[in-house]
Structures are given as structure tokens and as C-alpha cells.
Symmetry: C2
Subunit: 343 residues, 2 copies
């Protein structure tokens, strides 16, 4: 029951600048902190109780003065990443979650409609609503920087292959394929909603890959273009329910030449959902159903494996991220699944 209050009390201490003030100068009183951040000393003291309890901030018993405790040891880059994520939870989730049950009942993100009058997914809203873009933009950037290099190290692209990047709308996946998996004759096609074509082609031009890359517009639930050696499904199967994922996998199967390879990047639940070290069940259902698309959700690796087999694939390789590279605050545990088209 104290989940929302714990989260916002901590966030408010950053938002008001209390932590920043203590980073600049140790040993401040509540009165000094109140003056520094424009709040009543009584309120500063109230908010800091939780941070003292958690050992983030220390309070001198004799003088009542505050200094950073555990927070003093957090590197600037780690803190920035965590604060970006917390800002997303506050702006992109806290109020939206009020409508979680409605979102589940209707299969749509009711919170976006109630807050912004927007009908659609968070991805679509980010293009139109400044508030949503501000909450998600920096996060998407962090994600891309942290995840894509590892993703592209996790599989091979044969020389001269034809690669299809499904839902590769802004062209970034195709561009990185050229940069990191380049070979003579390599051709990459980004597939997405037709509305994204112009921006995608501009990005291809700007990155000097226009000759190797092309764009095909369409709906992944209908069909995909054919004749490919590699199909990439990056970060979106978890935004779909089972029936939709099976449709996507079957369409990908048809898009591949015999022996062709599908590469799926997705977060996965642990095989035993009761694993207390894994926080994905604590976060993702509410996030995906209540804040992002109103349907879908993570699956276990074994579930994706059986769905791939059901759709005519044989799993050849699974890469999990080197735990040494995963920051302690990360909720998400992603895998890259490579599978070959059978028969």
C-alpha cells in the first residue's frame, strides 16, 4: 500500500532539488534546505524521513543536520539514468495507472484518453503530445544506446544477405545493420506504417546508407514482403497478445527464404514467475496494459520458443545480456532469440 507514496516522496526530494542541495553542501539544516529549495522547513523534514529511513540520507542526531549517505556514492551517470526512468514513471504512468482496470477491460490505454484526449498507443501519443514525448524520449534514447550494440553482437548476418527490419520505422535498425553487419551486397529493408516512409528515407540519406536501404510500407498483421534471409523483430512482440504474436511469426516465416533466420529481441519473464529477484512481473503488466498499448505483455523464453516452433522455426541460439552490463536498477531482462526457418 505504500508503493505510490514511497515512489513520489523520493521523487519529490529530487524534483524539489533537496538532494542536489545536499550534493553541493553537506550538513544542512531543514531550515537551510527549505530556503534553498523554496519550501517550508517542516515539509522538507517530513519528506526526508523516508530517505533517512532508507539510508539514502543521514541525519546527525545532535544537530539535526542532513548529509547524503548512500546517495553520495551513486555516480552521476547512474543517477541520471535512474532519474530519467523515475520521471517516466511519474509522467507516463502514475496518473494513467488510475485507469488500469478500464484499460484492461477495453484493451486500450484509457489513461492517455482521460489525461490528453488521445486515442491510441503511447508510441503514437509520443509523436503528438509534448508531455508524453518529454517523458519517453530520453528513456528511448538511453534504451537504444544500452541495448542496440549488444543486440547486434548477438547474431550473425551472412555476407550479402537481404535483411527485413519489421516495425523499423525511423530507419535506425537498418542503419545500424549496415554499420555493424556490413558486407558487399547487403540490403536492408525497413518495414512499417506508410506514414513513416519520408522520415525513414531522410535518415537513410543523412547516414549515407540510402543505396543499401529501402522502405516498404504496410501492416505487419496483414503480410510482410518476401525474399529475405534475415528478419529482425526488435522490441515489439511483447506489445501483442498471443494471437497477434503468432500472426507476426507466421508472416515472418513467409517473408523468409528456406533456411532463413529470424532474430527476436524481447524482454522475458523468468521461467519461475515466483523468482523474487526478478521485478518484471511487478512492473510490465501495469506498464504495457495501462500505459503503453492496452494489450500484450512479456512471455517466458519457453513460451516464445514453443510459439516459434509452432510457426515453423527451430530455435538455434538464445543470448541473454551479460549480467555485468546490467545496471543494478534495471527492471528489464532482455534476450535475443535466433531461429531458423524449417523445411
Amino acid at each position: 500500500m505504500v508503493g505510490p507514496t514511497r515512489f513520489m516522496t523520493l521523487h519529490a526530494c529530487f524534483e524539489l532539488g533537496i538532494v542536489e542541495a545536499l550534493r553541493k553542501e553537506a550538513g544542512l539544516t531543514a531550515a537551510e534546505l527549505g530556503a534553498a529549495v523554496g519550501a517550508k522547513p517542516d515539509a522538507v523534514e517530513q519528506l526526508l524521513h523516508l530517505l533517512v529511513k532508507e539510508g539514502f540520507v543521514a541525519q546527525d542526531e545532535a544537530t539535526g543536520r542532513y548529509s547524503l549517505d548512500a546517495l553520495a556514492d551513486v555516480a552521476e551517470t547512474d543517477l541520471e539514468r535512474v532519474l530519467t526512468f523515475m520521471g517516466m514513471i511519474k509522467t507516463g504512468m502514475l496518473r494513467q495507472l488510475y485507469y488500469l482496470a478500464d484499460s484492461v477491460s477495453t484493451g486500450s490505454v484509457v489513461g492517455l484518453k482521460e489525461l490528453y484526449g488521445f486515442e491510441g498507443t503511447m508510441f503514437e501519443a509520443a509523436a503528438e503530445v509534448a508531455d508524453v514525448r518529454a517523458a519517453w524520449g530520453p528513456l528511448a534514447k538511453n534504451e537504444t544506446a544500452a541495448v542496440y550494440p549488444w543486440f547486434f553482437r548477438s547474431f550473425d548476418v551472412p555476407a550479402g544477405a537481404r535483411v527485413l527490419d519489421v516495425q523499423g520505422g525511423n530507419g535506425l535498425g537498418a542503419i545500424m545493420t549496415c554499420q555493424l553487419k556490413g558486407s558487399p551486397g547487403l540490403r536492408v529493408t525497413a518495414f512499417d506504417r506508410p506514414a513513416l516512409e519520408a522520415e525513414c528515407l531522410r535518415n537513410f540519406e543523412a547516414q549515407g546508407v540510402a543505396e543499401q536501404c529501402s522502405f516498404v510500407g504496410g501492416d505487419v498483421m496483414e503480410s510482410l514482403p518476401g525474399g529475405f534471409d534475415v528478419v529482425l523483430l526488435k522490441h515489439f512482440v511483447d506489445m501483442h497478445d498471443k494471437d497477434e504474436v503468432l500472426t507476426i511469426l507466421k508472416n515472418a516465416h513467409r517473408a523468409l527464404e528456406p533456411g532463413g533466420q529470424i532474430v527476436v529481441l524481447a524482454p522475458v519473464y523468468p521461467e519461475d514467475i515466483r523468482d523474487t529477484d526478478d521485478y518484471q512481473a511487478d512492473f510490465f503488466p501495469a506498464y504495457i496494459l495501462g500505459c503503453v498499448v492496452g494489450r500484450g505483455g512479456l512471455q517466458k523464453l519457453s513460451t516464445y520458443r514453443s510459439w516459434l516452433e509452432e510457426c515453423g522455426f527451430e530455435v538455434t541460439k538464445v543470448s541473454a545480456k551479460d549480467p555485468a552490463d546490467i545496471p543494478a536498477d534495471a527492471i528489464i531482462n532482455r534476450v535475443v532469440i535466433s531461429a531458423t526457418k524449417r523445411g
Copy 2:
């Protein structure tokens, strides 16, 4: 970071009726549950992951069917009390907390203004905004039933005493004083904003205590009427900052005859705020600052003790609630402090 999502995932499972369906019939599939509550089976499965993780619900590995686990052992009355509290957190706090930092900066409940266009405290809003009343009403009722009998057992009222119930607006405190502390010549005065007089007098009539009880209108920050043997401060000193509490205590001091008694009912922080068994620092600052009054907060018992001494009182007795009577889900730890006017 998973606090808001954990809270709302659990709440949505009750809100949608998933738990209720499992209470009626064990061993249901996600498809059967989805049909029962009007949601897609995929979404039901996603939400239930957390409840399985927490051991609230069990899932049969072979069949995938769900049954209540720990939730099966929760008594109906306990569940109702917890759900009332969770409903208050959802409706009365979740979205309001988005504005916590603004509320702290301005010393007002910005969330009530943003959500309902209401300027004032949650107590005032409950009188005018149906949403707020629906969230807080049942809780206030539960609180009164659980706390008041214990409160009145915690101190003595001399026979024939004159009692002042500060901020006793609806007359309930005065009525209970007559019923539980009655004696020949006992007189009780409820003091509150003049606007509450009519309702208070109606309640005195209805309960047959009109002859012993009266109402005086005024502002506790200005002054209180004089000539009393006992002054009751029930449940509101924690809604004020230090300077205001000192003003209230000084006014109460003046209202008492020499040797008169002040009785303070308030939740208190543990003496060591880092006590991990106590959740009040996790909850109350965000609740009081962000959702109720925009100022104030709990104090430690030792703080109230020193403030009482500073205002001319000597603490004679402190009663904490018998832990056997405190439900395991209770966040609040209240005390009753009795003190005598010195000199």
C-alpha cells in the same frame, strides 16, 4: 520504482473482479476468468503474474488453472478494510501525488485543484466533491469505529467536569464523551468553524445529549473559550506545522483551569525513524502534504512531549494501542498523550 505498478496491478485484480471470481470457484483458466470479468484472457494472465509471484494466488503448473492461495485465508472483514484503504489510495492519492512537489512548494493540495478545481483541504473537499467523499467516507467510518472506543478508554474525565472538544465539528466526540465518560454535571463543548454549528446541534438533539452539550464557533489558531477542566485534541495536530501546533497548545493551555488536563490523540513516528517495521514515514508525508492539507506531518512522541512542556504542560500518561488490536495491515501507530496544566 515498482511501487505504483505493484499497487495498481493488485488493485486492478480486485477491481475487475478476478479475485472475487476465484473466491467463488477455484481452478479457473485465464480464458474462464476473462469471460467472467469481461477482459481478454491474455490480460488476466498478465495481471495475475504478480499475484502468483507474491503467493496470493496459485497457478497449477500442468493445467495453468488459477486458485486463491494466501488470499483464501483472509477473512472477509479484513479484506474489506484493506480494500477500503486501497480504494482511498487509488482515488484520493495516486493522481494527486503527481503534484506532490508543487503541493510542498505552495503549502496547498495542488492535486485537488488540478483534478477537481477545488482549493482547500481534503476535509473541505470531502464536503463538496462526490469523488473525494466516496474515497474518504468509508475510511473515516472505519477509523472512528476502531479508534474512538480505545481513545476514550485511555484517559479519565473527573465527575462533573467541563470538557472542550477542539475541532469537534460534527459533535461525535462530545456525544461519545457523554456516553462513555458521563457523570452528574458533565458539560461538553464542541469547538469548530461556525459553519458547522447547525449540523452539530442537530446531532446533539438526535443523540439526546442537547442538555449537556453546546457548540462554540471560532478559529483554533486565534483563541479558544476558557474555563475547562479537560481539553481534547483528537486527530488533527498532525495536520499542522510546528509553529501552528505550538499556537494550538498555547491556546489550549489558556482554555484550561489550573491543573486541568489536555488529551492529545495523534499518530507518531517511531523514536528511531530508521525502524524498518514502521511504515509511517513511507506513507504519511506524501499523504498529508500531497493529498490532505499541504502542510503538517507526524512527529515523534518525544517531540510532542517537548512541545507540550514548552507550552506549560507536564505529560502524565501515554497510551499506545494494544498491539493485539492493531490489524497487520495498519500503517498508523497512534498514541494518546495526557498532560496536566502546570502552575
